[in-house]
């Protein structure tokens, strides 16, 4: 493993870096300095650890999914239950930490983009908890798909601003959040929700999410007396997956990231950046990107709003190049089947994002021996998706 990645300007090999308007550079430099200071600050670490325990509910359980494992007839499948975090997904691990950091930095306002709404809810929650003004940008297409989360953010005191340009999804919400940040950079912190964007976000968000893997590693050693054979997580921007994988990077463990295959790669309607993309520069960093020959960013499609994004975290590209992580994809149909399978076999309704990871377990587990172990990151709960799934199935609620 190359431990030099990233370099001091946020480059993971050829990926990453900082591609932003000059106006934002001082803010990024300030953020990097503040993050480097507070991650070693005893009070900050103590405050964060105590909130992780008492507020988020960490450690989250590592649950042996016995009936699912039996149904698939192969490896033992464990679920890392990030769906049991306060607000229902792993997003709170990062959002709360950044809200705390923003408060320490003396900012009065935080903003964020959201796709599925989970990061928006998590940021609004963090803002309410530490006492900051909060505005969330969300594409109108996502607002339609995730109306429940929109109302939750409003209940939490956040202003939700609809983004009606471009594809009206996550990428457009990020553009708008960046425009807001460029305008209000002096008093505002941008709580980016994934391991993407300009340095230091990919590193900082990874660190805030790495608690997932640290816990899971200890938990599996306690439960099974050995490390797992395989880790599986879905990859939108890539924060829950890197959060799980990071603590295992020095181990000999197979790791699989699952992108959104949408209607299939041939259809062109997907968000599988590794299967269908090429190197590009987008929203602050260099990475794999779904783009046309002229360098314009293509529209994406996924049944899951949280995976519906044209690019992917730069560290993922790097770890793929050094063959540490494999990447595959699951289609909408496969994810919807896994959504129902987990609900019926385990009584756990997963987020559609997490259902993509479950799909890969369904494909991988049967060929593995009964004493081998898979950990699937169950990154979020599916309550937010129930309405959309009913709509897709043509059921009127």
């Amino acid at each position: 493993m190359n431990k030099k990645a990233p370099d001091n300007k946020g480059h993971f090999g050829v990926y990453g870096g900082r591609f932003v308007p000059e106006t934002l550079m001082p803010a990024l430099i300030e953020l990097e300095a503040a993050y480097n200071k507070y991650k070693k600050d005893k009070t900050f670490v103590k405050d964060l650890t105590s909130l992780q325990k008492d507020y988020i509910g960490r450690p989250t359980p590592l649950y042996f999914a016995k009936r699912l494992s039996e149904a698939l007839g192969g490896a033992k499948i464990y679920l890392k239950r990030e769906d049991l975090c306060h607000t229902g997904a792993h997003k709170i691990n990062n959002a709360l930490a950044q809200a705390l950091l923003a408060k320490k930095m003396g900012k009065s306002r935080i903003i964020a983009e959201t796709g599925a709404g989970q990061h928006g809810v998590a940021t609004a929650t963090g803002a309410a908890l530490v006492g900051l003004e909060c505005e969330i940008y969300m594409g109108s297409e996502d607002i339609r798909r995730q109306s429940l989360n929109v109302f939750r953010m409003k209940l939490l005191g956040a202003k939700v601003t609809e983004v009606n340009v471009g594809s009206r999804t996550l990428k457009d919400a990020i553009n708008e959040a960046l425009r807001d940040w460029t305008t209000n950079v002096r008093d505002t912190h941008y709580v980016l929700g994934t391991v993407f964007g300009p340095h230091p976000y990919p590193v900082m968000v990874r660190d805030f999410q790495s608690v997932i893997g640290k816990e899971a590693r200890q938990q599996i050693l306690k439960a099974e007396g050995k490390l797992p054979d395989c880790l599986i997580a879905c990859v939108g921007g890539g924060s829950n997956s890197i959060g799980l994988f990071y603590a295992f990077l020095q181990d000999n463990v197979r790791m699989i990231g699952v992108e959104a295959g949408g209607h299939g790669i041939e259809s062109g309607e997907h968000a599988a950046r590794f299967a269908g993309g090429s190197l590009g520069v987008f929203q602050g960093c260099k990475s794999y990107l779904l783009q046309n020959d002229d360098g314009n960013v293509l529209g994406t499609h996924s049944v899951s709003a949280g995976l519906d994004y044209a690019s992917v975290g730069p560290e993922h590209c790097f770890l793929r190049d050094v063959k540490k992580i494999e990447y595959t994809y699951a289609t909408d149909d496969e994810a919807l089947k896994a959504f129902e399978l987990l609900s019926k076999t385990e009584g756990i309704i997963p987020a559609l994002e997490s259902a993509h990871a479950v799909t890969e377990a369904v494909k991988t587990a049967p060929a593995m021996s009964k004493d081998s172990i898979i950990i699937v990151n169950l990154s979020g709960r599916g309550d937010k998706d129930v309405q959309e799934v009913a709509r897709i199935k043509g059921i009127e609620l």
Binding site: E22, R179, V281, Q291
Partner: protein, 260 residues
């Protein structure tokens, strides 16, 4: 010496300020853009900025975002704009700057882009999401082929950033008058004066101010502090409304000639 530097030198000798209008290539069509360039030239533009459309223009406000969308819908690409500039050069020698985002250039290939831009007759490039720190290769190629690289400074810029951007810029330095996006509300005040003074203490390169300058009064005020004035959204808006741009640009030009 580049066309841009020549233009600034000539203006400086005459005690005048540069008028730098921005229009979007291919909005609503490249044929119209050709006509607008002639209009701008006639109305007294000293240098013209040609936008190249991109799907995600994150430094732009709503007016120019919509221009990007319209130009893309008409099939305008970086390649087509380069061919277009080659055509323009048959009849016009006005300094031309391309303003686009980094990904279209990166996808084109930076070496191929620099060579083709220079051979087509492009004089300089502005890429708002490319900072000097990430532009080492680009700057090297641009110097080699004599393409001006114009980087941006902002009201938030620290002394360190000013030094870095001043060093990387040729032709002129683009000072973004506001913390914000194109077309936002301008305030000319002490913070702008202070930052401009600080930039000037670092360099003799010309400084042009843009973002938010929407009328002759604002242009005149900014011109007192800088070597050039960039006007974008206000012109793009007129084009979107199908209105004439010549009179407006002429009125800005006249405001720059008034001695303060």
């Amino acid at each position: 010496m580049s066309r841009i530097t020549q233009a600034f030198n000539k203006l400086k000798k005459a005690g005048r300020k540069a008028l730098i209008p921005y229009i979007m290539s291919g909005d609503p069509s490249l044929e119209d853009t050709k006509r607008f360039i002639a209009d701008l030239d006639e109305a007294g533009a000293d240098i013209i900025e040609l936008g190249v459309p991109f799907s995600d223009p994150l430094a732009d406000g709503p007016t120019i975002q919509r221009a990007h969308e319209r130009a893309l819908q008409r099939g305008t690409t970086l390649r087509k704009v380069l061919t277009f500039v080659r055509e323009i050069r048959q009849t016009s020698q006005i300094p031309l700057i391309l303003m686009t985002y980094y990904n279209p250039v990166f996808k084109f290939g930076i070496e191929a882009f620099v060579k083709e831009a220079v051979s087509a007759g492009v004089d300089g490039v502005i890429i708002p999401d490319l900072i000097p720190d990430e532009a080492e290769d680009f700057i090297k190629l641009a110097r080699q082929h004599k393409l001006d690289t114009i980087f941006l400074l902002a009201p938030t810029s620290t002394p360190d950033r000013i030094k870095k951007v001043v060093k990387a810029s040729t032709g002129f330095i683009y000072y973004v008058s506001i913390t914000g996006i194109t077309g936002a509300k301008l305030t000319v005040g002490d913070p702008m004066k202070d930052t401009l003074t600080s930039i000037k203490s670092n360099t003799d390169k010309p400084i042009a101010v843009g973002f938010g300058i929407s009328n002759p009064e604002e242009a005149a005020e900014v011109a007192k502090l800088a070597d050039g004035v960039i006007v974008g959204s206000a012109i793009v808006r007129l084009i979107a409304e199908g209105k004439d741009i010549k009179d407006f640009v002429r009125s800005i030009k006249e405001s720059l000639e008034l001695k303060g």
